[in-house]
């Protein structure tokens, strides 16, 4: 039976059919419920399709400028270390205009959680090329397909952050089928648990569908994640420092 998590508002979202944001919101809300941290959580919303995330999730909300969510979250967490701070961002937000803030927040090992929704496109502005747009992928601003020779290759956020010493937890998951959705929930939950225990920076990248701007139906959208995105963005736990440390101690 479907139960609406208490942390999810009982309102219609503005997301399109088959969009990944709604699924990820629900997973986040379930985790907030299960960890009983709804009343302690502050959500930093990005500029992107999830700009109104704070309308759908029943927690205190703070809206950052495009790309600046990690810096805003840093200031907030430094001022209120007792709160759980989540920065929810899209690929344009996190890897283009906010790449600097992303990198340095991770490098400082800020004790906060970043949920990165990678849909390989700028959803909100109608489908322009993102830093994660795949080679050959057609968008409004790459009408002949992304040409890596001209604009570079799609950036792998997890792999990049995995070069840094400080982050505690880095994982890439997806929401293209029920199994993947379950894994995403586990990853988000783990990331939040690590923030609660003070382990440091946790980062969950979720491959997500934007059927509207990919110009496909929801079903095709889900298979495109599997067939096109996952080969370039492998689903993987890149780092789990607390678990690695526990293992070391045990052996």
């Amino acid at each position: 039976m479907y139960m609406r998590p208490e942390s999810l508002e009982n309102v219609r979202t503005h997301y399109c059919a088959g969009c990944g944001h709604g699924i990820i919101h629900k997973l986040l809300a379930e985790c907030l419920d299960e960890l009983e941290i709804r009343q302690n959580t502050i959500l930093v919303a990005p500029v992107g399709c999830a700009v109104l995330a704070y309308k759908y999730i029943n927690v205190d909300g703070l809206e950052a400028a495009h790309g600046r969510a990690p810096a805003v979250a840093t200031g907030l967490k430094r001022a209120r270390p007792e709160n759980i701070v989540i920065s929810y961002q899209g690929d344009g937000d996190l890897l283009a205009i906010g790449a600097g803030e992303t990198l340095h927040t991770a490098n400082r090992g800020e004790n906060l959680t970043v949920i990165f929704v990678n849909n390989a496109i700028y959803g909100m502005t109608g489908g322009q090329m993102a830093p994660t747009t795949l080679e050959g992928q057609k968008t409004l601003t790459s009408p002949y397909g992304r040409n890596a020779a001209e604009v570079g290759f799609p950036i792998r956020a997890c792999e990049m952050l995995d070069t840094l010493e400080a982050p505690a937890y880095i994982e890439r998951t997806s929401v293209h089928n029920p199994g993947a959705v379950r894994k995403t929930k586990k990853a988000i939950r783990k990331a939040l648990e690590y923030q609660i225990s003070g382990a440091g920076y946790s980062f969950v990248e979720v491959l997500s569908m934007c059927p509207t701007n990919w110009g496909v139906d929801p079903v095709t959208g889900a298979s495109w994640v599997k067939d096109a995105m996952i080969p370039w963005f492998p689903l993987k736990k890149f780092r789990d420092r607390p678990a690695e440390n526990a293992e070391k101690e045990a052996s």
Binding site: R38, Q39, N40, T41, I42, V44, A45, V51, L52, Y54, N58, V59, D60, G61, L62, E63, A64, A65, R68, A71, V72, A73, T74, G75, L76, K77, R78, A79, R80, N83, I84, G100, E101, L103, H104
Partner: protein
């Protein structure tokens, strides 16, 4: 207990004053000529259990300020002109979200990378706002190390009272100069922040945002902000006058330019010329009515700036043609020369005499 006088650089006096005011969250990126402020904070914050964080850029610093302010903290960032340019986006968002914070600009010459010597070329940026949208920030203009300290303590109260960014607009000369300072006392004022984000425990959730999409809601917000700006304009026009009572020639200057202008007034008085100084200590709101009153009695006004003419536009708006408004400025890190200011007023005097004789 008698208050102790200490010798401090202007930048350090400002930093210590921020701590006195209860600022425990400071975020900045290094830039000359304000580097003493982050260095001071880096040393002192850990002693006080506060947060000093060197941000990766001014963009990040101002957004960290936004986050800390949203959490209810007294927070500050400081920079100099090129860095201040980068902060403008954040200032606009903070203004839209009505968050209190203190911003410090220890100005240097521009445009671009410009130079590192003090200047006053960011008057437009500070008073008009370099960010997008209809917003205002309170801008205070200290004239010495003592005021750098005093105005900073006051700035935190004003920011909390009006939920607005308050900028201290200083310049490199003020920041670098060592002067005697009596460190201010905390004001003890407290402000209830029933909008701060603390987690929705036993209450409805709160939202701090600048986005307003529902039809009419943004204009309603703009009107709300404007009402606030109007009441600040009524309550906060600040200035100091020096020998203006009988002045034929009123010099208008702030910051370092005002120090030079004040010397010029003394020398002109010695020479028998009735000069005075009007020194705005708030640049927004600008003390326009008060200047207008002086202009009714004055023969001429001379605006002196370390720029090629920015505040002079506000002076002209205030004077509304009551008397001629002249300008003397130096730019690019140069100081107005005392003799040049004096000679300019002497020339006015000669011209006025000739004018009277001719008529």
């Amino acid at each position: 207990m008698s208050k102790k006088t200490v010798l401090m650089k202007g930048n350090e006096a400002l930093a210590e004053a921020a701590l006195i005011a209860g600022c425990r969250h400071y975020f900045a990126y290094p830039i000359t000529p304000q580097n003493e402020i982050p260095a001071y904070m880096a040393k002192r914050m850990p002693e006080l259990g506060g947060v000093f964080l060197q941000a990766e850029s001014e963009l990040a610093a101002i957004n960290m300020v936004m986050g800390a302010a949203a959490g209810g903290a007294r927070t500050m960032t400081s920079s100099s002109s090129p860095g201040m340019a980068l902060k403008q986006e954040g200032i606009s968002y903070i203004s839209g979200a009505e968050l209190p914070c203190v911003l410090v600009n220890v100005m240097r010459g521009g445009p671009g990378l410009g130079g590192i010597a003090g200047a006053q070329g960011d008057y437009f940026q500070a008073t008009r706002g370099g960010g997008n949208g209809d917003y205002r920030n309170i801008v205070l203009a200290p004239g010495n190390a003592q005021e750098l300290a005093d105005f900073t303590v006051d700035a935190f109260d004003l920011a909390d009272e009006y939920r607005i960014p308050v900028m201290i607009l200083a310049d490199g000369f003020l920041g670098q100069m060592s002067e005697a300072v009596v460190l201010p006392e905390p004001t003890g004022k407290t402000f209830e922040k029933d909008w701060a984000l603390t987690g929705a425990k036993d209450r409805n959730k709160r939202l701090v945002a600048s986005l307003r999409l529902a039809e009419g809601s943004l204009e309603a917000h703009n009107l709300h902000l404007q009402k606030k700006y109007d009441s600040i304009t009524q309550a906060l026009r600040r200035f100091e006058t020096y020998k203006t009572d009988d002045a034929d020639y009123v010099l208008v200057a702030y910051g370092t330019s005002a120090r030079i202008s004040r010397q010029a007034v003394d020398r002109l008085r010695e020479a028998g010329v009735k000069a005075g100084l009007f020194r705005p200590t708030s640049l927004w709101p600008f003390p326009d009515k008060e200047l207008h009153e002086l202009a009714r009695k004055a023969k001429r006004i001379l605006t002196v700036e370390m720029s090629l003419g920015q505040m002079v536009e506000d002076v002209r708006l205030a004077v509304e043609g009551r008397c001629p408004v002249e300008f003397h400025g130096r730019a690019g890190g140069a100081l107005p020369a005392l003799d040049d200011v004096i000679e300019t007023v002497m020339r006015f005097e000669r011209e006025e005499v000739t004018h009277v004789h001719a008529s």
